[in-house]
Symmetry: C2
Subunit: 218 residues, 2 copies
């Protein structure tokens, strides 16, 4: 039994399917965004804010990944967008094959942006390419400045970092500049946003950046 070989084979197989997903989505002109974060950083709330803001401007679809429950797809479905829930039943990350199966159930010919909300886990999802156009990592202001250094893989592979729950900053000892410096140390190219789903801060900037990455004129 050689566990490392097995793991490499799993990742190689995943990369093959991810490439199929990427080619398929690019051909259709769908920009897929893989959302990564710890549990409870506010990915779904952010998605709700973004969906509300993009309504009528961009055709959006959503894939929700969770270990258990379809609570998140229920929340997202209220915004009238097509959504598929993947329940991993204990699995700690989404894989390209799960996403491929979900893609088949979405009206992609009418979709411009596809949000894939990964399982809440800052470790394992970072290793699995899903065929997305970009990764966006979300961190809550309550999680501390050190997380990019402790969980570098998620930050290293991301296009953007969203620092969420900024409304709580007055009640925390967190120094946003230290968090940003640690994130930049891991990935100098990270585009960074500061957002709050309570006050709405930063949501417009996030959405404009996302629109700029799709074929839709902002």
């Amino acid at each position: 039994m050689n566990v490392i070989t097995i793991e490499r084979k799993i990742l190689e197989k995943n990369d093959e399917v991810a490439l199929q997903n990427r080619t398929f989505l690019e051909k259709l002109g769908v920009v897929a965004i893989n959302l990564l974060s710890s549990p409870g950083s506010g990915k779904t709330s952010l998605l709700e804010c973004v969906l509300e803001r993009l309504q009528g401007r961009v055709a959006v679809a959503v894939i929700e990944g969770d270990v258990h429950t379809d609570l998140d797809s229920q929340r997202v479905a209220r915004y009238g967008v097509p959504v598929v829930q993947i329940v991993t039943h204990g699995g700690c990350h989404l894989e390209a094959k799960l996403v491929q199966d979900a893609l088949a159930r979405l009206p992609l010919e009418r979709t411009q942006a596809l949000f894939i909300e990964n399982v809440g886990n800052l470790v394992c999802p970072a290793n699995y390419d899903l065929g997305e156009a970009m990764k966006v990592v979300v961190i809550s202001t309550t999680e501390g400045e050190d997380k990019p250094l402790k969980y570098p893989a998620a930050f290293r592979n991301a296009h953007a970092l969203i620092i969420n729950k900024t409304d709580l900053l007055p009640y925390l000892s967190l120094r946003v500049e230290d968090l940003k410096r640690n994130a930049r140390q891991v990935n100098p190219a990270l585009v960074m946003f500061e957002t709050s789903c309570v006050t709405g801060t930063g949501i417009a900037e996030c959405c404009e950046w996302l629109l700029g990455r799709t074929s839709v004129t902002p």
Copy 2:
């Protein structure tokens, strides 16, 4: 290649080593506590509060688990307790063998309570027995009421749940009773504490409970 068989073998092997650890620790009268949570829920801050309170009352040792960096063991070492840092280099959980190697580097004959701070991850660590006497799961008030339903394994196997960062409750929409109800739905036997490392709320109760589980008279 049969991935499920490999996974079962890994877990079986882990369970064997965990049993060795458990037997070894019980023989020495060391009560080991496996701390599980998402990244940024405040495990290390809680540990610092507990170490301060238990100083001079109980002989404590600590094993710190992190994907990268030894930041947490540096923090803990300031309290004058023996600490070993395990860096998993990408690994998403602690395993019994890693803990076994760490045990050999600790003065266990002089230790009454051993805290094992697991990798910040609410999914994978739940599947790996380390040989601990009990699991304690920590959740931050900022993470939302739904986490026990979404990540049931961590809650199902735990002896206690610590709801941390209660100082932020006035600024959150979280309903603690809903969070507790969801946790109880997964594990009716959970002992629950509400704590804040900022105000010190609940730390004494946590420590008394921990002392009650060791051979030390509270």
